[in-house]
């Protein structure tokens, strides 16, 4: 029976994986779920209540957060015959001047932690693969690609149509040490992380100015690119590397997480953490793409009469000739073996909690992510209800990515030593995914070991009360 209890959830989750689609991280709701050990990754001072936990390898933490400037319904419509139709005009109406697509994922290979030294400290060890992706897409690029360069948004105006991409895929080997202080009022924690970078794209500069002269249709262009990459150059053969090179490609980095939690009294507590303060030095398989003549203006104003006359014999080649002429003007140099450093997108949390009793908790959290010279703030208000020690339910209201209808939720279910948790910062977005432009989802399975019941701390002997001496009667 016990075996079936363990096996059946695993099989179910595998089936779910088969149908699961990963969308493209603020981690707001999970922050308040005190029964989930993986919370320690959001604040190293959040010591799990369990004695020991082991995240089932590859299943303990799968997390994806994606934020888009547009939703599924902005882009696609399902028609009566089940086919899909791309709604280009509606999409263009929806996007804003500057559009960012953000994707954060993490995947736990291993996560294990436990209390030590008579539960005075907690150590945690984890191996995760993490991905962060930020794509910047200017509105003008879409307009020009769809409508051509005569669209009013672009025609006769100097516009920057250059997208930008910042992406990192790396492995994180972390060690967390947490402890108590101030008679357990204060919990602190720190995580040191060794980072092994796999793939990186860092856009330092991305400008492509484009101008169509209304008088003569001359095309003026100016480019200034500098994009540093690692592992991209020969990505087709990426998996052909030897295993040690795949695991440790030579792009080493370090990061720290710091956190603290202070119990003001029995009902109130405050906490804060700063995560992913670190960097990776990219040395392996690097390639930097840089404009040959940054900032220089190039003009395409047509070909010579002679060249044009030569095309008469096969006019179908005209389009190719024009494109080749335009491409010829923009030289991008590839520079190899240039080492560089990229910083991780740092995350910040400041939170507070009010617990009227042991079962009910109201939390507030201010969160921010700093990535690619942009800051993405978020606010979360959540209610946690711990119903017995087997079930934890959280509902949250989250503000991020300029959306005000993010209702999140999470559940942790413990069945024996097994724990399943599911969290989302935008539950309606998960269910009504077509109408949302951001969502997150995380789930995992842990094995929780509570350990022996802790010996009650010896009470201090009651101090006998010596009655005040009676006043001596005379």
């Amino acid at each position: 029976m016990k075996k079936r209890i363990i096996v059946f959830p695993i099989v179910t989750m595998i089936l779910l994986l088969a149908t699961f689609r990963v969308f493209p991280q603020h981690d707001l709701t999970l922050y308040s779920m005190d029964k989930v050990p993986q919370r320690i990754y959001l604040n190293p001072s959040f010591i799990p209540e369990q004695k020991t936990y082991v995240g089932i390898p590859f299943l303990s933490g799968m997390h994806t957060t994606i934020a888009n400037p547009f939703s599924y319904n902005n882009v696609l419509t399902r028609e009566a015959d089940d086919s899909l139709y791309f709604e280009a005009e509606r999409f263009l109406d929806k996007i804003s001047k500057n559009n960012h697509i953000n994707l954060f994922t993490s995947f736990d290979f291993l996560s294990v932690g436990g209390k030590i030294s008579k539960d005075r400290f907690f150590i945690n060890f984890g191996i995760r693969e993490r991905t962060s992706l930020n794509v910047y897409l200017p509105e003008n690029l879409f307009y020009m690609l769809w409508y051509g360069n005569t669209t009013p948004q672009v025609y006769g105006k100097q516009v920057n149509i250059s997208p930008a991409l910042n992406a990192s895929v790396y492995d994180e080997w972390s060690f967390t040490f947490s402890g108590y202080a101030l008679k357990k009022k204060l919990t602190y924690g720190a995580t040191v992380k060794y980072l092994s970078g796999r793939i990186n794209v860092t856009t330092k500069k991305s400008t492509f100015d484009f101008y169509t002269d209304p008088d003569n249709y001359n095309i003026l262009m100016r480019s200034d690119f500098e994009v540093q990459t690692s592992g991209i150059n020969d990505i087709d053969s990426y998996l052909n590397q030897r295993v040690p090179s795949l695991i440790f490609p030579g792009n080493n980095g370090f990061a720290v997480d710091l956190g603290a939690n202070y119990q003001i009294n029995n009902h109130f507590s405050v906490n804060a953490s700063v995560l992913d303060l670190g960097f990776i030095n990219w040395r392996s398989r690097t390639m930097t793409l840089v404009s040959h003549e940054p900032g220089k203006e190039f003009t395409y104003n047509g070909m010579s009469m002679h060249e044009f006359a030569d095309l008469f014999s096969d006019f179908s080649k005209f389009g190719t000739k024009v494109l080749d002429s335009l491409k010829h003007l923009i030289h991008i140099d590839s520079v190899y073996d240039v080492k560089y450093r990229s910083n991780l997108p740092a995350r910040f949390n400041i939170g507070g909690s009010y617990s009227p009793d042991e079962k009910n908790h109201i939390n507030i959290l201010l969160n921010g992510i700093s990535s690619a010279h942009h800051f993405y703030p978020a606010l979360s208000v959540s209610y946690l209800f711990n119903w017995t020690r087997y079930l934890g339910l959280t509902v949250s209201y989250n503000l991020f990515n300029r959306q005000y209808t993010n209702f999140g939720g999470g559940i942790s279910i413990s069945a024996g030593p097994m724990q399943l948790y599911l969290v989302s910062d935008n539950l309606p977005g998960l269910i009504f995914y077509k109408g949302t432009n951001n969502t997150s989802f995380q789930f995992g399975i842990n094995i929780l070991l509570k350990g022996k019941a802790a010996k009650p701390e010896p009470k201090e002997p009651d101090t006998p009360v010596i009655p005040a001496p009676e006043e001596t009667k005379q």
């Binding site: 028609e79 169509t212 003569n216 009469m305 002679h306 044009f308 179908s316």
Partner: protein, 541 residues
């Protein structure tokens, strides 16, 4: 435990259903093909063309000249060797046959039977200039020449002939030739005279050939034996001559040259060139002075039938002298005579205004026209004339028409819905142009004309009435647009050629003189706004 398990299963089942139902939303291979309709504005051509470049494009680059000031002159017609005198025309040496016959006597028989015997030499003297008594040959180097000896003897003897050229050397050595032995019957020999120099100063024109005969001691010849030998002296080609060629006149036949100014010109219209010039250049590497007389200079237009002979208008300029190069010179002498309106009484205007396609000319050359001097020539010497006409592009032009044809091929463009072509022409020439662009099939039947039934009118650059040049910084400008819808573009699929025709007028409808310079430019900006329609296939197939 059972309740927990039940709850777990229910939850899992709900999730499974949920995710399977949304799977359909991500079957991107079911996305319908997208119709993409961009509107693109593209520059097509930005170029400037000078008159020089235009001529090259039309194949007329060999027919103009640009001086240092950038003034352009049309080389209206041009030909080498309009008149030619070669050494063969100046001196022809006849062939000289002669015979040597001897019949032996008894006395001679007796002498030969006991010892060698020399027969008395016989001299033969020839006048190389016997055909022209005025010619005096002082020195003659033979380029090609022979003496053919045909012998017919009645005896055998080891003796030989010595044929000695008394006033000739070869490589500095007195020239002679030995022929022998004597053989009964016929035999022949050839004496090569090439590179033999005859020094005839002491006796001009006359060469002496001495035939010496030596017979060896032998029992033959006997009395009545015969030597019957025939000789023929020929000098068909002279390598070098020094002497005097006399006063002679050469009258070559009338010749003509064809006009090749505009290879693709449709018609020249009404053209007036301000100050056209013609020049004749004599190139003389023959060491003889000459006097040239223009006996005919006539132009004809075979289309209109008009002709014009201006010979009698040339006046004293119809006759001119050509000096002789010096005997040590290595380059020929050039002598040019220019004819312009100034020295022909405006006859040049008359000549070219009929727009001739042929010019007929005839000249007379008198050598040694005045005093006697030393003449010379080599086998490569010659005297010839180049006839050159320069028409400065300075004048007024009305309906000067040029036309050019380009091969054209275009497949059906399914993706182009329409195209609006824009042209901006900045005309720096002082010529107004009416242009038309036609698309034709293989047989040059018109399929489409770019400007429809109209012409593209390009105004000239305003001209300064004093300099006849365009005003600095001023141009004629023309903006035009042509719209091609889908149907019109589909028609072009059948086109095989583009025909461009331009009718040019100078200012004021061709009545004002203008000057065309090499630096004047016509600038063309050609662009298009193209509406495309393309079906984009999306998803996997």
């Amino acid at each position: 435990m059972k309740i927990r398990l039940y709850k777990f299963l229910v939850l899992s089942f709900i999730f499974l259903l949920f995710f399977m139902s949304c799977k359909k939303d991500f079957e991107f291979n079911k996305i319908k093909p997208l119709t993409w309709r961009p509107d693109l504005a593209i520059p097509l051509v930005k170029d400037g063309i000078t008159f020089e470049m235009a001529l090259k494009e039309t194949g007329g680059e060999n027919n103009f000249y640009i001086d240092d000031a950038g003034d352009i002159s049309m080389l209206y017609y041009f030909r080498d060797n309009a008149f030619h005198i070669s050494p063969g025309d100046l001196l022809t040496i006849p062939s000289f046959p002669f015979s040597y016959n001897h019949q032996f006597t008894t006395e001679e028989q007796q002498i030969i039977s006991t010892q060698d015997m020399n027969i008395t030499p016989v001299d033969y003297v020839f006048n190389l200039a016997e055909n022209d008594p005025n010619v005096e040959i002082d020195k003659l180097l033979v380029k090609e020449g022979t003496v053919v000896v045909n012998m017919n003897n009645t005896f055998n003897n080891d003796g030989h002939f010595v044929i000695r050229f008394l006033n000739a050397t070869k490589n500095g050595i007195p020239f002679s030739h030995i022929t022998g032995p004597f053989i009964t019957g016929s035999s022949s020999d050839t004496i090569d005279l090439s590179n033999v120099l005859f020094d005839l100063l002491s006796s001009p024109n006359r060469i002496t050939v001495r035939v010496e005969c030596l017979l060896k001691k032998s029992d033959r010849p006997i009395a009545n034996d015969m030597i019957l030998d025939d000789f023929t002296l020929k000098i068909p080609k002279v390598g070098r001559f020094e002497g005097y060629l006399g006063q002679r006149t050469f009258n070559p036949n009338q010749a003509s040259v064809k006009v090749t100014v505009f290879n693709n010109a449709y018609t020249l219209g009404d053209v007036y060139f301000e100050d056209p010039k013609a020049s004749i250049t004599l190139v003389n590497s023959i060491g003889v002075p000459a006097r040239i007389t223009i006996r005919k200079l006539k132009a004809t237009n075979s289309v209109s039938g008009f002709s014009q002979d201006i010979t009698d208008k040339l006046g004293e300029n119809a006759v001119f002298s050509v000096p002789s190069p010096s005997i040590t010179a290595t380059e020929p002498v050039l002598k040019s005579v220019d004819y312009s309106n100034a020295n022909t009484g405006n006859s040049m205007d008359v000549l070219f205004n009929i727009k001739p396609d042929y010019v007929f000319y005839q000249i007379t050359a008198e050598i040694n026209p005045t005093k006697r001097g030393i003449n010379f020539f080599t086998d490569t010497s010659s005297m010839y004339a180049n006839l050159l006409v320069k028409l400065p592009l300075y004048g007024h032009f009305d309906h000067l028409t040029v036309q050019d044809t380009f091969a054209f091929s275009m497949n059906k463009q399914k993706e182009i819905e329409s195209a609006n072509f824009k042209t901006n022409i900045v005309n720096g020439f002082p010529l107004q142009a009416k242009m038309q662009v036609y698309f034709t099939d293989k047989t040059f039947h018109k399929i489409d004309s770019m400007a429809g039934n109209n012409c593209i009118m390009i105004k000239e650059a305003p001209v300064d009435p004093v300099t006849h040049l365009p005003q600095p910084g001023m141009f004629g400008e023309k903006d035009t647009s042509f719209f091609y819808d889908r149907q019109r573009m589909d028609n072009l699929v059948n086109a095989d050629y583009i025909l461009v025709r331009a009718v040019l007028n100078s200012s004021d409808e061709g009545s004002t003189n203008v000057k065309i310079k090499a630096t004047q430019t016509l600038k063309l900006n050609f662009s298009a706004e193209v509406k495309l329609k393309k079906n984009l296939e999306t998803g996997k197939k």
